[in-house]
Amino acid sequence: MALPCGTYNTRYEQAFAIFRTKTHWAMLVGLLVLLAMLPFVLNSYSLTVINMMLIMIIAVQGLNIVTGYCGQIHFGQAAFMAVGAYSSALLMNHFGLSFWLCLPLAGIITALVGILFGLPSVRVKGIYLALVTLAAQFIIIYVIETPLQWLTGGQWAMDTPAPQLWGFVFNTQLELFYLIAAVTVLMTFIAKNLARTRVGRNFVAVRDNDIAAEVMGINIMRTKVLAFAIASFYAGVAGSLWAHYTQAFTTTDFSLMQSIWFVGMLIVGGMGTIVGPILGTMFITLLDQLVLLFTPTMAATLPVLTVAQISSIAMFAFALVIIVFLVWEPRGLAHRWEIFKTSYRLWPFAY
């Protein structure tokens, strides 16, 4: 990791700091101020988009831990989000627990389910593990819809109250934005901490070389299962936020498509980095919204085409962008970001 020019680590503590120079801190403060100001310049539409995007970032951040860091492919993250959403909603509706308990409990319950489905990962690898996680996607949704119908209401919408803190109800998009943004920042911070310390290195060790990892004293089984548990915890937290954010949700919200998109976001953003999930989710959300915004306008200006046709073309363009992107930068946006930072630091001197 290159440091800004003229900055040297003179103590080991400094090497561990995320924010290393005064400029870093200034940038952090600036960013937080910007984040705080955002709602005043954005309308409810943009806030809705951003709120949903932030929740997705949490889920992708979790996926990044198991897939990006620990190298275990996972096609069922959306179903784990469903576990979190239903746990949180049920805990609040049936036991009257406060949102502040529901949120972590949803995470913990989902983590336990994650352990259950993570156990096979000890035995199977690669494409077979992909199939196991795919099965998890179907099994979980099936269990929620059918055997647990008496509890979850099956395919019917689950009504969930808005989050509350000492009588203050987070109801508008703006209030929810602050809540969701805070949780997202916290979860990202935790992901960063995990990535840069013992657990994170163990995950990468298992991903990069499980033979060496084992000889170096890493319990592969425990590590993989832990990765699944943490990833599921993230999914659970994201699901809980989703439940209380939408205030009404169904299993359709957590479809296989969503799971696959999570993987797509991660790949586009860059696996095994903390900014990857953020950039990837932003990128896909943005493309989605551009399609949404421009199709009606384009249909108006191009009367020969119907909206359906334009939407199909947009889908195609969307896919093309992602393909071109992966060919051009298979390491994801995060790598672009690193290159940008390096060149920015060395500017105006080239290497």
Binding site: R198, V204, A205, A212, A213, G217, I218, I230
Partner: protein, 273 residues
């Protein structure tokens, strides 16, 4: 005590289908010695090391480490007991930097769990700093400062071998198992590596007061090597394998003159050179 059996392999049989890779092999690695294992290609040297580090579980025979029977111990448990090794074909965590590779090796010595890691501040931070110091000592010792923050996947072969040695040292091992650490190196690199091995064996004392591995050294080293010059130069004792059989055992001088070895091994070596 010097001279005690550190590792003991008793009547080991290791078969892969019809192939007997180790056939009734009994070897003792004594505390305080550098033991070299030699033998022609396919003799079973790597298999022997794999049996010690727990990758392979022999069909018959017992393995003892410091007097304790470790047959049923899994590879990662043996790693934590202090059996560190390098691999014939480099096995690094290719996505991590040199420093991170070494830090990763210290995970068994770290106390923090994932909850503490998640919070970072407090115990985890202290621990990271403490272990980072030791890792930097090892990097300094192995003269790898230039590549400490490079991702190891892109390093040249010789340096990757060195990172692997560093990673084994970072484990604070009681025994160092080295599988052809010098294979594919040029003379200069070989000399460097020999020096590192001897320095590790002897310990650096006050040079690295906070890093036990370097300060006290690793007093027991098992080395697989094809380069006879190196083997004769640094080994206290040599074990010779051929087709899974242990055919000779003794000091370098004894091995040099052992007729069986000369016939099987040195003869082949001479012809292939």
């Amino acid at each position: 005590m010097k001279g005690d059996a550190k590792i003991k392999l008793e009547n080991i049989y290791m078969r892969f289908g019809g192939l007997t890779a180790l056939d009734n092999v009994t070897v003792e690695v004594k505390r305080g010695e550098i033991l070299a294992i030699i033998g022609p290609n396919g003799a079973g040297k790597t298999v022997l090391l794999n049996c010690i580090s727990g990758f392979y579980h022999p069909q018959e025979g017992n393995i003892y480490f410091e007097g304790e029977k470790i047959n049923s111990k899994r590879a990662h448990e043996r790693g934590r007991m202090g059996l560190a090794r390098t691999f014939q074909n480099i096995e690094l965590y290719s996505g991590l930097t040199s420093v991170e590779n070494l830090m990763a090796a210290r995970q068994g010595l770290m106390k923090s769990n994932f909850l503490a890691n998640a919070l970072y501040f407090g115990p985890t931070h202290k621990e990271e700093v403490k272990h980072r110091r030791i890792v930097e000592d090892i990097i300094d010792f192995l003269e790898m400062e230039a590549v400490r923050d490079s991702v190891v996947g892109v390093l040249p072969y010789g340096l990757r071998k060195r990172v692997e040695l560093g990673r084994a040292l970072a484990l604070e091992p009681k025994v160092l198992l080295l599988d052809e650490p010098m294979a594919g190196m040029n003379l200069e690199e070989k000399e460097d590596l020999c020096r590192f091995i001897i320095d590790v064996y002897e310990g650096q004392g006050s040079m690295y007061p906070d890093t036990p591995t370097l300060r006290d050294g690793v007093d027991t080293i098992v080395l697989i090597e094809h380069d006879m010059g190196v083997v004769m130069g640094i080994a206290d004792r040599i074990v010779v394998l051929d087709f899974g059989h242990l055919i000779a055992e003794g000091t370098p001088d004894e091995i040099k003159t052992n007729p069986a070895v000369v016939k099987v091994y040195l003869g082949e070596e001479a012809s292939s050179d």
